[in-house]
């Protein structure tokens, strides 16, 4: 079986806890998609729900709000990984629940 746990943990730790141009709080807020102010809130909502609808104007607005390109790069990366992480965690929890139940189901009393 493929095992992405170690690499994924390292990825998330790096983007959230390592050095960066955006603050740790900004990166965490983008990852969680919670607590962002405009225009990053709109950018991150589009990113998570319909990334194909992100426009030049969304990126320009982030720059006009004072973010450098490196900071925009980092918060967008954090937003994308945060969203994929929530999906992945929900799915793994459902998988665990489904397999635990089947493992503990009453055996056929033949």
């Amino acid at each position: 079986m493929a095992d992405i746990r170690q690499a994924r943990t390292a990825l998330v730790a790096r983007i959230l806890e390592g050095d960066g141009e955006a603050s740790h709080a900004q990166r965490r807020a983008a990852f969680d998609n919670a607590g962002l102010t405009e225009p990053l809130r709109t950018l991150n909502n589009k990113l998570t729900n319909h990334a194909e609808m992100v426009t030049d104007d969304d990126i320009v607005a982030a720059g006009a709000a004072g973010l450098s390109e490196d900071q925009i790069f980092e918060v967008v990366v954090c937003g994308a990984i945060g969203h994929a992480t929530r999906q992945y965690d929900v799915a793994l929890a459902a998988l665990r629940a489904a397999t635990e139940r089947s493992e503990h189901a009453p055996r056929d009393p033949r």
Partner: protein, 193 residues
């Protein structure tokens, strides 16, 4: 590419590498390569490890199946660049481009078996609705898919739900079919490292 730093902000050595890629492939440097090579210590180095393990690590799914999953998740996200890229890789891996096109246009097609179809349905629901429940997983298990194969498919879903968003947010240039054909040969030969 929406951010100039992702287009032109790489170090000198990386720019030389891009020039070599262009010279050898006779195609523009893929923008996904520009992304993962920009400040790789922040994102690219780690993301490549995740993606390589999901797509080329040990798994009961074939490489073709995994590339089909990548294309299918990308199509569900309406990500043109990634859909075209992984459609090309899946077609090459299967030696059957028509099979891939058939699945992407109609999941109920009989060209794939029920285990793969049930897995793709699960990935579509997770990608669209951002949630799965126990019953969704049970349907896949009932189709004969092992828990390990389900977890492998979820790893692919993680990788491409990340990359699709970045491709669209940064607006990757979508090249012509020849570039994707060249990219497919590279990814089948070298993987995602």
């Amino acid at each position: 590419m929406r951010l100039a730093i992702l287009d032109r902000g790489h170090g000198f050595g990386t720019k030389i590498l891009f020039a070599l890629i262009r010279a050898v492939s006779r195609q523009p440097t893929p923008e996904v390569v520009k992304l993962v090579m920009y400040r790789p210590d922040f994102f690219g180095t780690h993301m490549k490890k995740v993606t390589h393990e999901a797509m080329r690590g040990p798994s009961a799914w074939s490489v073709g199946d995994r590339e089909l999953m990548a294309a299918f998740v990308s199509k569900t996200n309406n990500c043109e660049f990634c859909t075209k890229a992984h459609t090309a890789v899946a077609g090459s891996a299967y030696h059957d481009q028509a099979k891939v096109s058939s699945v992407l246009s109609d999941l109920e097609t009989k060209v794939i078996g029920e285990p793969l179809r049930a897995t793709l349905r699960m990935l579509r629901k997770l990608t669209r609705e951002h949630a799965l429940d126990v019953d969704d997983i049970r349907q896949v298990l009932a189709a004969g898919v092992s828990p390990e194969r389900i977890e492998d498919a979820l790893a692919i879903c993680f990788a491409f739900n990340t990359m699709n968003r970045l491709a669209d947010a940064f607006e990757f240039f979508v090249p012509g079919p020849k570039a994707f054909e060249v990219g497919a040969k590279f990814l089948l030969a070298r993987g995602y490292r």
